[in-house]
C-alpha cells in the first residue's frame, strides 16, 4: 500500500541555494517538451545522480475543457468531442459515450449495430496498442518497431476511412446505433486484415520479446502489485499485468461482448515486460473477437428508434467500457433538457498516470521513460 509519508506533497521542489550546479539532488523538468513524455506531460524529477527520489506530474497543458463544453452542447453535438480525448482510440471513446446516453434514454442498439461497433472498437484497440508498442519501444531505444507498427496500423485506419471518412477522430457511432451501413467490401477488408496481421505481431515479437536488452530494460522495471494497482484505481492492461483479472468486457459485458469467446491475459509480476506481453496477447485476442464478429454479423437495422431531439428524463448514469487503456467511464447527469447538466469522464490514462510515482521511485531516469511508455497515456485524455 502507499505510504502517505512518501507522497508527492512532501517533494521539496525548491532548488537548494548553492552556487553552481549542485549535484547532490538534481531537480529536472522532464517535459512539457520532451521526446518521451508522449505529448505535453511535465514530470518533475528529483534525482540523486541517476536515481529517482520522487516525481511530480504536472498536467493540464492540453486542457481544452471537454467536460465543460458538454454542458453547452446537445447530446448529439457533444458526440464528436469525445473523439478528441483519447485520439488514438477515438472509436472506443465514442462507443462509451453513445452507450452511456443510450442507457440514459433506455434505448438498445440493434444487434447489427452492436456487431459493427464491436468490430470497429476491437480494430481500434489493436491500432491503439500498435501505437503504444511503437512509441514504447522507441522510448527504450528500439527505433525500428515504430515504423513497422505504423505501417500496419495504416491498414486499420484505411478501414475506418472507408467506413466513416475519418481516420483518427472517427465519430463512427451515433446515439442509438450507427449512422453508416457498412460499405461494400467491409467484411472482406476486415477478413483480409485478420489474415494480414498475425504474422506482423510475430514480426514485432521477433524484434523485441527475446531481445536480451529489451528483457533487461523491461523485466522488474516499474513493478506495481495488484493491491497497489487496485488502490490507485489503475485499470486496463496495467492492472491485468499485475495479476488482477479485471476486464469490463467480461465483468460487465456491454454491447454484445457476452456473445464472444475470448480470454483475458494476465501477468504475474506487474512489471513492464508483463504489461508488454499482456498487450501483445490482447492484440491476438482482439483478432479472435473480430473474427467471430465478422463471421456472425447479422442483417437488420443499424439504428434504434431514437427521438430526433434527445431529451433524457431527469437522472444520472454511469457507464464504463474497456477502452484500450483501461476503464473509460462516462458519468452523465441529465436535468431533462436537451443538454447534459454535467458530463464527467473517467479517463483511464489520467488514473493510470497516478501510479507513475509509485512505479519509478528508486529506479533510474531511463526507467521513468520506460514506465511512462508502458502506462500508455494519451495526454489528450489526461487533460481533456
Amino acid at each position: 500500500m502507499i505510504d502517505p509519508a512518501n507522497t508527492l506533497s512532501n517533494l521539496d521542489l525548491e532548488t537548494p541555494e548553492k552556487p553552481y550546479l549542485d549535484s547532490n539532488e538534481l531537480i529536472i523538468n522532464m517535459g512539457p517538451q520532451h521526446p518521451a513524455t508522449h505529448g505535453v506531460l511535465r514530470v518533475i524529477l528529483k534525482l540523486d545522480g541517476e536515481k529517482v527520489l520522487g516525481t511530480e506530474c504536472v498536467i493540464g497543458y492540453l486542457h481544452r475543457g471537454v467536460e465543460k463544453i458538454a454542458e453547452n452542447r446537445t447530446y448529439a453535438m457533444f458526440n464528436p468531442y469525445v473523439d478528441r480525448m483519447d485520439y488514438v482510440a477515438a472509436v472506443s471513446n465514442g462507443l462509451g459515450y453513445c452507450q452511456a446516453v443510450e442507457k440514459l434514454l433506455n434505448v438498445e442498439a440493434p444487434p447489427r449495430a452492436n456487431y459493427i461497433r464491436v468490430i470497429l472498437t476491437e480494430l481500434n484497440r489493436i491500432a491503439s496498442h500498435q501505437l503504444w508498442l511503437g512509441t514504447h519501444a522507441l522510448d527504450i531505444g528500439a527505433m525500428t518497431p515504430l515504423f513497422y507498427t505504423f505501417r500496419d496500423r495504416e491498414e486499420i485506419l484505411k478501414i475506418f476511412e472507408k467506413y466513416c471518412g475519418a481516420r483518427l477522430t472517427t465519430h463512427a457511432f451515433r446515439i442509438g446505433g450507427c449512422l453508416y451501413e457498412t460499405y461494400a467490401g467491409f467484411e472482406k477488408d476486415v477478413k483480409n486484415f485478420l489474415a494480414f496481421f498475425p504474422p506482423k505481431i510475430v514480426e514485432y515479437e521477433e524484434l523485441l520479446t527475446g531481445n536480451r536488452i529489451w528483457l533487461e530494460r523491461t523485466k522488474n522495471v516499474g513493478v506495481i502489485s495488484g493491491a497497489d494497482a487496485i488502490a490507485l484505481g489503475v485499470t486496463g492492461p496495467v492492472l491485468r499485468a499485475s495479476g488482477v483479472k479485471w476486464d469490463i468486457r467480461k465483468a460487465q459485458p456491454y454491447a454484445n461482448y457476452a456473445d464472444f469467446d475470448f480470454e483475458i491475459p494476465t501477468g504475474e509480476n506487474g512489471d513492464t515486460f508483463d504489461r508488454y506481453m499482456v498487450r501483445m496477447i490482447e492484440m491476438r485476442q482482439s483478432l479472435r473477437i473480430i473474427e467471430q464478429a465478422v463471421n456472425g454479423i447479422p442483417e437488420g437495422p443499424i439504428m434504434a428508434k431514437v427521438p430526433k431531439v434527445i431529451k433524457p428524463a431527469v437522472g444520472e448514469i454511469y457507464h464504463s467500457i474497456e477502452a484500450p487503456k483501461g476503464e473509460l467511464g462516462y458519468f452523465i447527469v441529465s436535468d431533462g433538457s436537451t443538454q447534459p447538466y454535467r458530463v464527467r469522464v473517467r479517463p483511464p490514462s489520467f488514473v493510470n498516470l497516478q501510479a507513475l510515482d509509485l512505479m519509478v521511485r528508486g529506479m533510474l531516469v531511463a526507467d521513468v521513460v520506460a514506465v511512462i511508455g508502458t502506462l500508455d497515456i494519451v495526454l489528450g485524455e489526461v487533460d481533456r
Binding site: L26, G141, L146, L208, I213, R217
Partner: protein
C-alpha cells in the same frame, strides 16, 4: 621542394619514416579530406540504410535519392545562429567540440592504410591510438559541464563513466592481439600498427582466426567495446534522445553541434580502423599468401576499379528507373552526371591497375599498390560502418547500470581470461 616531392614517390616507407615533412603534410590533408568526405558519405548512407531498415525511403528530395542531403545539411548548420547559453561557461563551451574533434582526427596519424600509406609508422602506434581516442571523452565531459544544464550534465557523466569502463576491456582485448604479434622467431612483439598487420601476414593468419576461438573472442569484445567507446546505439546513453533529449549536446546547435557529429563519426571510423588493423589483416586482400601469383595480384588490383564501375552501374540504373516526368529532369541529369563521375573514377583506377601491373618500382606500380591497399582497408572499415547502422536499427538502448554491469562483470573478466589463455597457448604453441 620539388626534390623533396619527387624523391619520396619511389620510396616505400611512410613520410614519417622518410622524414619528409612535405609528404607528411600532403598525407594529412588527404586523410583529413578523405575522412571528412567519408563522414559525409556515412551520414547519407546511415540515413538511407536506416530508412530502408524501417520501411521508409529516407532523404529523397535534395538531389537524386537525397545524394546532396548531407551537403544541404552542412550548409544549413553553417548558416545557423551560433548560440551560447547565457549561463554557460563561455570558453569551455567553445573549446569542448574542438577537443573531441582533435582527438578523433589526431588518431589518423597512425592508421595504417597500407604498409607505407600512413602519416607515420610510430613504434608505439596502438598505444598512441588508444590514448588519443580516449581523449574524446574529455570533449564530451567539458561540453556537458560547460552547458550548465542538467540534461547535458547527466549525459556527460554517463558517457565518462561508460568510456572509462569500456576502455579497460578494450585495452585488454588489444593486448591479447599484441601478444600474438610476438609469436615469431625473435619472439618480440610490436606496438606499431603497420608491423601488427605485417605480423599477421608473416603468420599466415588474421588474428581474428588465431588460436580459434581466442582471437575471435578478443575481437568480439573489442567490437562491442568500440561501440560503447563511440557512444553509438545500443550504448548511446550519453545522447539518449528519449531520456536526455540530446544528452551532452543538448545546448549545442549549428556549427558546434556539427563538430560533435563530425567527431563522433570520425571516431567511429578510427576505432573501426583499429579493429581492422588488429584482427582483420589491415590492408591485405583475402589470402595474401595463398593468392600471391602475379595473375592474382592483377585480378585483385582490378577490384577498386570494378567497385566504382559497379557503383556507376547502379547510378545509371537509377537514372533509367526514374519516372519519366519533367519534374525529375534535373534529378535525372544530376544522377547521370554522378554516374559518369563514378564511371570516370572507375576508368582511371582500371587504367592505373593495367599500367602499373608489373611489380617493379615504377611510380605507376607504386600508385597501383597504394590504391589496392587503401581499397581493401577502406572496404573492411566500411563493413564496420554498416554494422554500426545495423546495430542502431535493431537494438534497444541499455540502461546505465546494466551497461556498467556488462562492462565490468562480463566483458572485463572475459577479456582478462582471453588474455591469459592467449599467453598460455602462445607459450605452448609458439
Amino acid at each position: 621542394m620539388l626534390n623533396a616531392f619527387m624523391s619520396y614517390l619511389g620510396s616505400r616507407v611512410t613520410p614519417g619514416d622518410a622524414n619528409n615533412q612535405l609528404w607528411a603534410l600532403i598525407y594529412i590533408l588527404i586523410i583529413f579530406a578523405g575522412v571528412s568526405v567519408a563522414v559525409i558519405a556515412m551520414n547519407w548512407l546511415e540515413r538511407k540504410a536506416l530508412a530502408h531498415f524501417q520501411v521508409r525511403l529516407g532523404p529523397m528530395r535534395v538531389g537524386p535519392h537525397g545524394l546532396l542531403q548531407p551537403i544541404a545539411d552542412a550548409l544549413k548548420l553553417l548558416l545557423k545562429e551560433d548560440i551560447i547559453p547565457a549561463q554557460a561557461d563561455q570558453v569551455v563551451f567553445w573549446i569542448a567540440p574542438l577537443i573531441g574533434l582533435l582527438a578523433a582526427f589526431t588518431v589518423y596519424t597512425v592508421v595504417p592504410f597500407g604498409p607505407s600509406q600512413a602519416v607515420s609508422d610510430m613504434n608505439i602506434g596502438i598505444l598512441f591510438m588508444l590514448g588519443v581516442s580516449s581523449l574524446g571523452v574529455l570533449g564530451i565531459v567539458t561540453a556537458g559541464w560547460a552547458s550548465n544544464s542538467h540534461y547535458p550534465l547527466i549525459g556527460a557523466l554517463r558517457s565518462s563513466a561508460q568510456m572509462v569502463s569500456y576502455e579497460v576491456a578494450m585495452g585488454l582485448a588489444v593486448v591479447s592481439a599484441i601478444l600474438m604479434t610476438s609469436l615469431n622467431a625473435s619472439g618480440t612483439g610490436t606496438l606499431s600498427m603497420i608491423d601488427i598487420v605485417k605480423a599477421q601476414q608473416e603468420q599466415h593468419v588474421w588474428f581474428l582466426f588465431k588460436f580459434f576461438p581466442l582471437g575471435l573472442i578478443a575481437f568480439v569484445i573489442f567490437a562491442i567495446a568500440m561501440v560503447a567507446e563511440t557512444n553509438r546505439a545500443p550504448f548511446d546513453l550519453a545522447e539518449a534522445e528519449s531520456e536526455l533529449t540530446a544528452g551532452f549536446h543538448t545546448e549545442y546547435s549549428g556549427l558546434r553541434w556539427s563538430l560533435f557529429m563530425l567527431a563522433e563519426y570520425a571516431a567511429m571510423i578510427a576505432v573501426s580502423s583499429i579493429a581492422v588493423a588488429l584482427w582483420l589483416g589491415g590492408w591485405m586482400h583475402p589470402f595474401p599468401n595463398l593468392l600471391n601469383a602475379p595473375a592474382w595480384e592483377f585480378i585483385f588490383s582490378l577490384f577498386p576499379g570494378l567497385t566504382f564501375l559497379g557503383l556507376a552501374g547502379i547510378a545509371f540504373l537509377g537514372t533509367a528507373r526514374m519516372p519519366s516526368h519533367s519534374f525529375f529532369r534535373i534529378q535525372r541529369a544530376g544522377l547521370a552526371v554522378f554516374a559518369a563521375l563514378l564511371g570516370f573514377i572507375a576508368l582511371v583506377l582500371l587504367v592505373i591497375a593495367v599500367v602499373g601491373r608489373n611489380a617493379d618500382s615504377s611510380v605507376a606500380a607504386n600508385f597501383r599498390e597504394g590504391i589496392d591497399y587503401v581499397y581493401w582497408f577502406v572496404l573492411k572499415v566500411a563493413v564496420f560502418m554498416y554494422l554500426f547502422i545495423w546495430y542502431r536499427a535493431t537494438w534497444p538502448r541499455y540502461r546505465f547500470d546494466q551497461l556498467m554491469q556488462v562492462g565490468w562483470k562480463v566483458m572485463l573478466p572475459i577479456s582478462l581470461g582471453v588474455l591469459i589463455a592467449t599467453a598460455i597457448v602462445g607459450v605452448i604453441v609458439g
